[in-house]
Protein backbone atom coordinates (compact mmCIF):
# COMPACT_ATOMS: atom_id res chain seq x y z
CA UNK A 1 0.00 0.00 0.00
CA UNK A 2 2.84 2.33 0.92
CA UNK A 3 4.56 1.48 -2.36
CA UNK A 4 1.31 2.25 -4.20
CA UNK A 5 1.07 5.63 -2.40
CA UNK A 6 4.67 6.38 -3.26
CA UNK A 7 3.98 5.66 -6.91
CA UNK A 8 0.84 7.79 -6.98
CA UNK A 9 2.31 10.87 -5.35
CA UNK A 10 5.15 13.08 -6.30
CA UNK A 11 8.14 13.54 -4.00
CA UNK A 12 7.13 17.11 -3.16
CA UNK A 13 3.62 16.10 -2.22
CA UNK A 14 4.94 13.36 0.06
CA UNK A 15 7.22 15.84 1.81
CA UNK A 16 4.29 18.20 2.43
CA UNK A 17 2.17 15.43 3.92
CA UNK A 18 5.00 14.28 6.17
CA UNK A 19 5.60 17.85 7.39
CA UNK A 20 1.91 18.24 8.21
CA UNK A 21 1.83 14.98 10.14
CA UNK A 22 4.94 15.98 12.06
CA UNK A 23 3.45 19.35 12.94
CA UNK A 24 0.23 17.73 14.08
CA UNK A 25 2.14 15.30 16.30
CA UNK A 26 4.15 18.14 17.81
CA UNK A 27 1.06 20.22 18.49
CA UNK A 28 -0.64 17.22 20.02
CA UNK A 29 2.26 16.45 22.35
CA UNK A 30 2.50 20.09 23.41
CA UNK A 31 -1.24 20.13 24.12
CA UNK A 32 -0.94 16.93 26.18
CA UNK A 33 1.95 18.31 28.20
CA UNK A 34 0.17 21.62 28.74
CA UNK A 35 -2.89 19.77 29.87
CA UNK A 36 -0.81 17.90 32.48
CA UNK A 37 0.76 21.13 33.72
CA UNK A 38 -0.94 22.95 36.55
CA UNK A 39 -0.28 26.51 37.57
CA UNK A 40 -0.75 27.65 41.11
CA UNK A 41 0.00 31.06 42.57
CA UNK A 42 0.18 32.35 46.13
CA UNK A 43 0.25 36.01 47.21
CA UNK A 44 1.00 37.48 50.60
CA UNK A 45 1.81 40.83 52.12
CA UNK A 46 4.73 40.93 54.53
CA UNK A 47 6.54 43.41 56.75
CA UNK A 48 10.26 44.21 56.82
CA UNK A 49 12.60 41.28 57.47
CA UNK A 50 10.16 38.59 56.35
CA UNK A 51 11.36 35.06 55.68
CA UNK A 52 10.24 33.01 52.72
CA UNK A 53 11.11 29.31 52.60
CA UNK A 54 10.78 27.13 49.53
CA UNK A 55 11.16 23.36 49.74
CA UNK A 56 11.20 21.60 46.40
CA UNK A 57 12.23 18.15 45.24
CA UNK A 58 12.95 18.81 41.60
CA UNK A 59 12.74 21.85 39.36
CA UNK A 60 13.80 25.43 38.97
CA UNK A 61 13.48 28.00 41.73
CA UNK A 62 13.99 31.60 40.69
CA UNK A 63 13.89 34.34 43.31
CA UNK A 64 13.81 38.03 42.40
CA UNK A 65 13.14 41.21 44.35
CA UNK A 66 9.82 42.97 43.98
CA UNK A 67 9.13 46.66 44.33
CA UNK A 68 6.34 46.26 46.87
CA UNK A 69 5.75 44.48 50.18
CA UNK A 70 4.07 41.68 48.28
CA UNK A 71 5.36 38.15 48.04
CA UNK A 72 4.29 36.30 44.94
CA UNK A 73 5.01 32.62 44.50
CA UNK A 74 4.07 31.21 41.10
CA UNK A 75 4.42 27.48 40.61
CA UNK A 76 4.09 25.16 37.66
CA UNK A 77 3.42 21.53 38.54
CA UNK A 78 4.22 18.95 35.90
CA UNK A 79 1.83 16.27 37.08
CA UNK A 80 -1.00 15.60 39.52
CA UNK A 81 1.38 13.35 41.44
CA UNK A 82 2.80 16.40 43.20
CA UNK A 83 1.14 19.21 45.05
CA UNK A 84 2.27 22.52 46.49
CA UNK A 85 1.03 23.96 49.73
CA UNK A 86 1.87 27.32 51.16
CA UNK A 87 1.11 29.10 54.37
CA UNK A 88 1.89 32.31 56.16
CA UNK A 89 2.55 32.62 59.87
CA UNK A 90 3.11 36.27 60.64
CA UNK A 91 6.15 37.35 58.70
CA UNK A 92 7.12 33.82 57.76
CA UNK A 93 5.97 32.07 54.63
CA UNK A 94 6.64 28.42 53.87
CA UNK A 95 5.87 26.87 50.52
CA UNK A 96 6.53 23.21 50.02
CA UNK A 97 6.27 20.64 47.28
CA UNK A 98 4.76 17.33 48.32
CA UNK A 99 5.35 14.24 46.24
CA UNK A 100 2.08 12.37 46.57
CA UNK A 101 3.29 9.11 45.08
CA UNK A 102 6.51 7.65 43.80
CA UNK A 103 6.90 8.59 40.19
CA UNK A 104 9.45 9.63 37.59
CA UNK A 105 11.68 12.63 38.12
CA UNK A 106 9.93 14.53 35.31
CA UNK A 107 6.59 14.15 37.00
CA UNK A 108 7.84 15.41 40.35
CA UNK A 109 9.10 18.58 38.74
CA UNK A 110 7.73 21.84 40.06
CA UNK A 111 9.10 25.18 38.88
CA UNK A 112 8.91 28.17 41.19
CA UNK A 113 9.11 31.83 40.41
CA UNK A 114 9.21 33.92 43.54
CA UNK A 115 9.22 37.68 43.89
CA UNK A 116 9.57 39.23 47.31
CA UNK A 117 10.69 42.44 49.02
CA UNK A 118 14.40 42.98 48.57
CA UNK A 119 15.06 43.00 52.32
CA UNK A 120 13.33 39.66 52.88
CA UNK A 121 15.27 36.58 53.87
CA UNK A 122 14.97 33.63 51.55
CA UNK A 123 15.61 29.98 52.16
CA UNK A 124 15.58 27.40 49.37
CA UNK A 125 15.84 23.68 49.98
CA UNK A 126 16.02 21.66 46.81
CA UNK A 127 16.89 18.17 45.61
CA UNK A 128 17.68 18.58 41.93
CA UNK A 129 17.24 21.29 39.34
CA UNK A 130 18.34 24.89 39.32
CA UNK A 131 18.24 27.60 41.96
CA UNK A 132 18.72 31.22 41.04
CA UNK A 133 18.56 34.12 43.49
CA UNK A 134 18.99 37.63 42.13
CA UNK A 135 19.76 40.96 43.77
CA UNK A 136 18.60 40.25 47.30
CA UNK A 137 19.62 42.25 50.34
CA UNK A 138 18.28 39.89 52.97
CA UNK A 139 19.88 36.65 54.02
CA UNK A 140 20.02 33.88 51.43
CA UNK A 141 20.14 30.32 52.65
CA UNK A 142 20.33 27.46 50.15
CA UNK A 143 20.53 23.73 50.72
CA UNK A 144 20.75 21.58 47.63
CA UNK A 145 21.52 17.95 46.93
CA UNK A 146 22.23 17.94 43.23
CA UNK A 147 20.95 21.32 42.10
CA UNK A 148 23.00 24.05 40.47
CA UNK A 149 22.97 27.22 42.50
CA UNK A 150 23.38 30.67 41.06
CA UNK A 151 23.42 33.69 43.35
CA UNK A 152 23.93 37.07 41.83
CA UNK A 153 23.92 40.64 43.10
CA UNK A 154 23.52 39.89 46.80
CA UNK A 155 24.35 42.98 48.83
CA UNK A 156 24.80 43.50 52.57
CA UNK A 157 23.51 40.04 53.24
CA UNK A 158 24.55 36.67 54.54
CA UNK A 159 24.70 34.06 51.81
CA UNK A 160 24.95 30.54 53.13
CA UNK A 161 25.00 27.57 50.77
CA UNK A 162 25.25 23.89 51.53
CA UNK A 163 25.44 21.69 48.49
CA UNK A 164 26.25 18.04 47.96
CA UNK A 165 26.96 17.88 44.29
CA UNK A 166 25.66 20.79 42.23
CA UNK A 167 27.67 23.67 40.86
CA UNK A 168 27.63 26.88 42.84
CA UNK A 169 28.12 30.24 41.17
CA UNK A 170 28.11 33.48 43.11
CA UNK A 171 28.69 36.75 41.37
CA UNK A 172 28.65 40.44 42.16
CA UNK A 173 28.05 39.98 45.86
CA UNK A 174 29.18 43.03 47.80
CA UNK A 175 29.65 43.61 51.51
CA UNK A 176 28.23 40.19 52.19
CA UNK A 177 29.20 37.29 54.32
CA UNK A 178 29.39 34.30 52.01
CA UNK A 179 29.70 30.79 53.41
CA UNK A 180 29.70 27.90 50.94
CA UNK A 181 30.15 24.25 51.76
CA UNK A 182 30.00 21.92 48.80
CA UNK A 183 31.10 18.32 48.88
CA UNK A 184 31.44 17.46 45.24
CA UNK A 185 30.27 20.46 43.25
CA UNK A 186 32.54 23.11 41.77
CA UNK A 187 32.28 26.58 43.23
CA UNK A 188 32.91 29.77 41.31
CA UNK A 189 33.01 33.22 42.89
CA UNK A 190 33.21 36.23 40.65
CA UNK A 191 33.51 39.74 42.06
CA UNK A 192 32.53 38.64 45.53
CA UNK A 193 33.70 40.63 48.52
CA UNK A 194 32.78 41.14 52.13
CA UNK A 195 33.95 40.84 55.71
CA UNK A 196 33.96 37.05 55.61
CA UNK A 197 34.06 34.76 52.59
CA UNK A 198 34.50 31.04 53.15
CA UNK A 199 34.33 28.25 50.59
CA UNK A 200 34.97 24.65 51.54
CA UNK A 201 34.75 21.60 49.31
CA UNK A 202 35.85 18.00 49.33
CA UNK A 203 36.36 17.15 45.68
CA UNK A 204 34.90 20.24 44.05
CA UNK A 205 37.17 22.79 42.38
CA UNK A 206 37.11 26.39 43.55
CA UNK A 207 37.58 29.38 41.27
CA UNK A 208 37.82 32.88 42.70
CA UNK A 209 37.89 35.79 40.32
CA UNK A 210 38.01 39.15 42.08
CA UNK A 211 39.97 41.70 44.04
CA UNK A 212 39.31 40.44 47.60
CA UNK A 213 38.03 43.87 48.46
CA UNK A 214 36.82 45.14 51.81
CA UNK A 215 39.53 44.12 54.22
CA UNK A 216 37.79 40.86 54.94
CA UNK A 217 38.87 37.34 55.80
CA UNK A 218 38.78 34.96 52.85
CA UNK A 219 39.20 31.21 53.16
CA UNK A 220 39.12 28.83 50.21
CA UNK A 221 39.65 25.22 51.22
CA UNK A 222 39.41 21.86 49.47
CA UNK A 223 40.46 18.28 49.85
CA UNK A 224 41.23 17.05 46.34
CA UNK A 225 39.70 19.91 44.38
CA UNK A 226 41.91 22.50 42.71
CA UNK A 227 41.83 26.14 43.78
CA UNK A 228 42.28 28.80 41.12
CA UNK A 229 42.54 32.45 42.09
CA UNK A 230 42.72 35.31 39.62
CA UNK A 231 43.22 38.73 41.11
CA UNK A 232 44.02 42.18 39.73
CA UNK A 233 47.34 43.87 40.42
CA UNK A 234 45.65 46.44 42.66
CA UNK A 235 44.37 43.78 45.01
CA UNK A 236 45.37 44.45 48.60
CA UNK A 237 45.86 41.05 50.15
CA UNK A 238 47.90 39.18 52.68
CA UNK A 239 47.82 35.76 51.09
CA UNK A 240 48.95 32.37 52.24
CA UNK A 241 48.57 29.19 50.26
CA UNK A 242 49.38 25.66 51.25
CA UNK A 243 48.65 22.23 49.86
CA UNK A 244 49.57 19.28 52.03
CA UNK A 245 50.19 16.99 49.05
CA UNK A 246 49.42 19.07 45.98
CA UNK A 247 51.33 21.84 44.24
CA UNK A 248 51.14 25.59 44.78
CA UNK A 249 51.85 27.85 41.81
CA UNK A 250 51.79 31.62 41.52
CA UNK A 251 52.85 34.20 38.98
CA UNK A 252 51.45 37.13 40.94
CA UNK A 253 54.03 39.70 42.06
CA UNK A 254 53.70 39.23 45.81
CA UNK A 255 56.16 40.43 48.38
CA UNK A 256 57.11 37.34 50.29
CA UNK A 257 56.07 37.37 53.93
CA UNK A 258 59.04 37.54 56.27
CA UNK A 259 57.21 35.67 59.01
CA UNK A 260 54.77 33.18 57.51
CA UNK A 261 52.45 31.30 59.84
CA UNK A 262 53.80 27.96 58.65
CA UNK A 263 56.97 26.52 57.24
CA UNK A 264 57.28 27.27 53.54
CA UNK A 265 58.25 24.24 51.52
CA UNK A 266 58.95 25.14 47.90
CA UNK A 267 56.12 24.26 45.53
CA UNK A 268 53.79 23.27 48.37
CA UNK A 269 53.28 26.53 50.20
CA UNK A 270 53.50 30.23 49.68
CA UNK A 271 52.91 33.38 51.71
CA UNK A 272 53.04 36.90 50.36
CA UNK A 273 51.56 40.37 50.49
CA UNK A 274 50.26 42.66 47.79
CA UNK A 275 49.83 46.39 48.37
CA UNK A 276 48.85 47.06 51.99
CA UNK A 277 47.59 43.53 52.56
CA UNK A 278 44.18 44.74 53.69
CA UNK A 279 42.37 41.45 53.24
CA UNK A 280 43.49 38.14 54.64
CA UNK A 281 43.36 35.34 52.07
CA UNK A 282 43.94 31.73 53.04
CA UNK A 283 44.07 29.08 50.34
CA UNK A 284 44.21 25.53 51.63
CA UNK A 285 44.10 22.24 49.81
CA UNK A 286 44.97 18.75 50.92
CA UNK A 287 45.88 17.15 47.63
CA UNK A 288 44.54 19.58 45.03
CA UNK A 289 46.57 22.19 43.16
CA UNK A 290 46.52 25.85 44.12
CA UNK A 291 47.14 28.38 41.38
CA UNK A 292 47.25 32.13 41.94
CA UNK A 293 47.33 34.21 38.79
CA UNK A 294 47.19 37.84 37.79
CA UNK A 295 44.02 38.96 36.01
Amino acid sequence: MFEHWKRQTSGRHRATVCAMLLTAATVLSVCISLAAETRKEFRYTVGPGATVSIVNENGTVIVRPSTSRQVSIATILQSPKVEVDSNQNGNRITTRTHVLQKTTADQTRVDYEVSLPQDANVSVDSGTGQIRVENMQGNVNVEADDANVDITGATISVVQIQSVNGKVNISNAKQSRVLVTSTGGNVQLTSVSGPKISVKTTSGNIVFDGDFDGGGAYLLMSHSGDIDVRLPSNASVDLSARSVKGAVETDFPFQKSPHPAFQISEGRAFAGTSNSGASSVELRSFSGKIRVKKQ
Binding site: N56, E143, D145, V164, T183, M221, R242, F286
Partner: protein, 224 residues
Amino acid sequence: MNCAEFHKLLPAMFESGGAIEDQEHLASCPNCTDLVNDLRYIADQAKLLLPMHDPSPRVWNNIQASLQKEGIGRADRKPRLERKSPKKKEWPTLGWAAGLAASLLIGFALLNYSRHQSEPQSQSQSEELASANTQNSFVPQAPDTAVSEKSSDDDTQLLSEVEHRSPSLKSVYEHNLHNVNNYISEAKDSVRLDPNDAEARQHLREAYAQKAMLYEMATTRSLE
Protein backbone atom coordinates in the same frame (compact mmCIF):
# COMPACT_ATOMS: atom_id res chain seq x y z
CA MET B 1 21.06 -16.29 122.94
CA ASN B 2 20.01 -13.16 121.13
CA CYS B 3 18.91 -12.84 117.49
CA ALA B 4 22.35 -11.89 116.19
CA GLU B 5 23.98 -14.91 117.78
CA PHE B 6 21.23 -17.15 116.42
CA HIS B 7 21.66 -15.79 112.87
CA LYS B 8 25.38 -16.48 113.11
CA LEU B 9 24.76 -20.13 113.92
CA LEU B 10 21.90 -20.61 111.49
CA PRO B 11 23.90 -21.69 108.38
CA ALA B 12 25.76 -24.33 110.37
CA MET B 13 22.51 -25.64 111.76
CA PHE B 14 21.03 -25.96 108.28
CA GLU B 15 24.13 -27.69 106.93
CA SER B 16 24.24 -30.19 109.77
CA GLY B 17 20.64 -31.05 109.08
CA GLY B 18 19.81 -30.84 112.76
CA ALA B 19 16.44 -29.94 114.24
CA ILE B 20 16.57 -26.18 114.26
CA GLU B 21 13.05 -25.91 115.59
CA ASP B 22 14.29 -27.31 118.92
CA GLN B 23 16.40 -24.26 119.58
CA GLU B 24 15.29 -22.39 122.72
CA HIS B 25 15.62 -19.00 121.13
CA LEU B 26 12.86 -19.77 118.66
CA ALA B 27 10.38 -20.31 121.47
CA SER B 28 10.76 -16.73 122.56
CA CYS B 29 11.41 -15.04 119.17
CA PRO B 30 8.64 -15.02 116.54
CA ASN B 31 10.88 -13.12 114.04
CA CYS B 32 13.57 -15.79 114.01
CA THR B 33 10.88 -18.48 113.85
CA ASP B 34 9.47 -16.84 110.73
CA LEU B 35 12.96 -16.59 109.25
CA VAL B 36 13.66 -20.27 109.84
CA ASN B 37 10.32 -21.21 108.33
CA ASP B 38 11.03 -19.07 105.28
CA LEU B 39 14.49 -20.53 104.79
CA ARG B 40 13.15 -24.02 105.20
CA TYR B 41 10.48 -23.30 102.59
CA ILE B 42 13.06 -21.88 100.13
CA ALA B 43 15.31 -24.91 100.59
CA ASP B 44 12.42 -27.28 100.00
CA GLN B 45 11.28 -25.39 96.90
CA ALA B 46 14.83 -25.32 95.59
CA LYS B 47 14.98 -29.10 95.86
CA LEU B 48 11.74 -29.37 93.88
CA LEU B 49 12.81 -26.87 91.26
CA LEU B 50 16.26 -28.29 90.75
CA PRO B 51 15.39 -30.99 88.19
CA MET B 52 13.57 -28.41 86.05
CA HIS B 53 16.32 -25.83 86.24
CA ASP B 54 19.34 -27.96 85.82
CA PRO B 55 19.83 -27.88 82.07
CA SER B 56 21.84 -30.35 80.14
CA PRO B 57 25.31 -29.34 78.95
CA ARG B 58 23.83 -29.04 75.46
CA VAL B 59 21.56 -26.23 76.69
CA TRP B 60 24.54 -24.39 78.18
CA ASN B 61 26.42 -24.92 74.93
CA ASN B 62 23.53 -23.53 72.91
CA ILE B 63 23.24 -20.52 75.18
CA GLN B 64 26.96 -19.98 74.96
CA ALA B 65 26.90 -20.31 71.17
CA SER B 66 24.02 -17.84 70.90
CA LEU B 67 25.74 -15.35 73.16
CA GLN B 68 28.94 -15.65 71.18
CA LYS B 69 27.04 -15.32 67.92
CA GLU B 70 25.52 -12.06 69.13
CA GLY B 71 28.90 -10.92 70.34
CA ILE B 72 27.79 -10.98 73.95
CA GLY B 73 29.58 -14.00 75.29
CA ARG B 74 33.24 -14.82 75.41
CA ALA B 75 34.94 -18.06 74.57
CA ASP B 76 36.25 -18.48 78.12
CA ARG B 77 32.77 -18.18 79.57
CA LYS B 78 31.60 -21.70 78.94
CA PRO B 79 33.84 -23.51 81.40
CA ARG B 80 32.94 -20.97 84.07
CA LEU B 81 29.26 -21.56 83.53
CA GLU B 82 29.76 -25.29 83.58
CA ARG B 83 31.75 -25.08 86.77
CA LYS B 84 29.08 -22.97 88.39
CA SER B 85 26.39 -25.39 87.37
CA PRO B 86 25.90 -27.63 90.38
CA LYS B 87 25.53 -31.32 89.95
CA LYS B 88 22.15 -32.78 90.70
CA LYS B 89 23.36 -35.35 93.23
CA GLU B 90 24.82 -32.71 95.52
CA TRP B 91 21.50 -30.94 96.00
CA PRO B 92 19.78 -33.14 98.62
CA THR B 93 22.66 -32.71 101.04
CA LEU B 94 23.14 -29.01 100.40
CA GLY B 95 19.63 -28.17 101.53
CA TRP B 96 18.75 -24.52 101.75
CA ALA B 97 22.31 -23.49 101.01
CA ALA B 98 21.91 -25.08 97.62
CA GLY B 99 18.84 -22.94 97.08
CA LEU B 100 20.83 -19.90 97.98
CA ALA B 101 23.61 -21.01 95.70
CA ALA B 102 21.09 -21.48 92.91
CA SER B 103 19.80 -17.98 93.54
CA LEU B 104 23.33 -16.64 93.52
CA LEU B 105 24.06 -18.52 90.33
CA ILE B 106 20.96 -17.12 88.69
CA GLY B 107 21.85 -13.68 89.97
CA PHE B 108 25.42 -14.04 88.76
CA ALA B 109 24.25 -15.28 85.39
CA LEU B 110 21.76 -12.41 85.09
CA LEU B 111 24.40 -9.93 86.16
CA ASN B 112 26.88 -11.31 83.68
CA TYR B 113 24.32 -11.40 80.95
CA SER B 114 23.19 -7.84 81.46
CA ARG B 115 26.78 -6.66 81.78
CA HIS B 116 27.82 -8.38 78.59
CA GLN B 117 24.68 -7.25 76.88
CA SER B 118 25.57 -3.68 77.69
CA GLU B 119 29.20 -4.22 76.78
CA PRO B 120 28.86 -3.72 73.01
CA GLN B 121 27.03 -0.47 73.66
CA SER B 122 29.55 0.80 76.15
CA GLN B 123 32.33 -0.39 73.89
CA SER B 124 30.74 1.48 71.05
CA GLN B 125 30.30 4.51 73.26
CA SER B 126 33.90 4.39 74.33
CA GLU B 127 34.91 4.12 70.68
CA GLU B 128 32.82 7.13 69.90
CA LEU B 129 34.34 8.93 72.83
CA ALA B 130 37.78 7.91 71.67
CA SER B 131 36.85 9.11 68.23
CA ALA B 132 35.53 12.37 69.65
CA ASN B 133 38.66 12.76 71.72
CA THR B 134 40.62 12.09 68.62
CA GLN B 135 38.70 14.82 66.91
CA ASN B 136 39.22 17.15 69.80
CA SER B 137 42.88 16.43 70.22
CA PHE B 138 43.34 15.76 66.51
CA VAL B 139 45.77 12.98 67.18
CA PRO B 140 44.16 9.90 65.65
CA GLN B 141 45.10 6.55 67.04
CA ALA B 142 45.84 3.51 64.93
CA PRO B 143 42.99 2.65 62.56
CA ASP B 144 40.18 0.91 64.43
CA THR B 145 38.40 -1.68 62.38
CA ALA B 146 35.34 -1.63 64.65
CA VAL B 147 34.98 2.14 64.27
CA SER B 148 35.32 2.02 60.50
CA GLU B 149 32.84 -0.87 60.32
CA LYS B 150 30.40 1.14 62.42
CA SER B 151 30.94 4.11 60.17
CA SER B 152 30.35 1.92 57.16
CA ASP B 153 27.12 0.62 58.69
CA ASP B 154 26.00 4.18 59.35
CA ASP B 155 26.81 5.11 55.77
CA THR B 156 24.81 2.16 54.47
CA GLN B 157 21.85 3.16 56.59
CA LEU B 158 22.14 6.74 55.44
CA LEU B 159 22.21 5.68 51.80
CA SER B 160 19.13 3.54 52.24
CA GLU B 161 17.34 6.54 53.73
CA VAL B 162 18.39 8.69 50.79
CA GLU B 163 17.24 5.98 48.39
CA HIS B 164 13.91 5.83 50.14
CA ARG B 165 13.49 9.60 49.89
CA SER B 166 14.80 10.05 46.40
CA PRO B 167 16.24 7.03 44.55
CA SER B 168 18.07 9.13 41.98
CA LEU B 169 20.11 10.84 44.69
CA LYS B 170 21.51 7.64 46.16
CA SER B 171 24.44 7.50 43.74
CA VAL B 172 25.17 11.19 44.36
CA TYR B 173 25.42 10.65 48.11
CA GLU B 174 27.31 7.39 47.68
CA HIS B 175 29.96 9.06 45.56
CA ASN B 176 30.32 12.02 47.89
CA LEU B 177 30.38 9.91 51.05
CA HIS B 178 33.19 7.92 49.49
CA ASN B 179 35.12 11.11 48.80
CA VAL B 180 34.53 12.46 52.29
CA ASN B 181 35.62 9.18 53.87
CA ASN B 182 38.80 9.37 51.82
CA TYR B 183 39.29 12.91 53.03
CA ILE B 184 38.94 11.80 56.65
CA SER B 185 41.23 8.86 56.14
CA GLU B 186 43.96 10.88 54.44
CA ALA B 187 43.73 13.72 56.93
CA LYS B 188 43.97 11.22 59.81
CA ASP B 189 47.06 9.66 58.27
CA SER B 190 48.57 13.07 57.88
CA VAL B 191 47.90 14.04 61.49
CA ARG B 192 49.22 10.69 62.66
CA LEU B 193 52.48 11.38 60.85
CA ASP B 194 52.80 14.80 62.38
CA PRO B 195 50.44 15.53 65.29
CA ASN B 196 51.75 19.09 65.48
CA ASP B 197 50.78 19.93 61.91
CA ALA B 198 48.05 22.54 62.38
CA GLU B 199 47.24 22.38 58.69
CA ALA B 200 46.53 18.67 58.74
CA ARG B 201 44.46 19.10 61.89
CA GLN B 202 42.42 21.78 60.18
CA HIS B 203 41.81 19.43 57.25
CA LEU B 204 40.74 16.65 59.59
CA ARG B 205 38.31 18.98 61.33
CA GLU B 206 36.96 20.10 57.98
CA ALA B 207 36.66 16.53 56.70
CA TYR B 208 34.49 15.62 59.67
CA ALA B 209 32.46 18.79 59.17
CA GLN B 210 31.86 17.79 55.55
CA LYS B 211 30.68 14.38 56.59
CA ALA B 212 28.45 15.88 59.25
CA MET B 213 26.94 18.13 56.61
CA LEU B 214 26.19 15.17 54.36
CA TYR B 215 24.50 13.36 57.21
CA GLU B 216 22.55 16.44 58.19
CA MET B 217 21.37 17.08 54.67
CA ALA B 218 20.39 13.49 54.10
CA THR B 219 18.59 12.96 57.38
CA THR B 220 17.09 16.19 58.59
CA ARG B 221 15.41 17.23 55.40
CA SER B 222 12.12 15.85 54.27
CA LEU B 223 10.72 16.66 50.89
CA GLU B 224 7.69 14.44 51.17
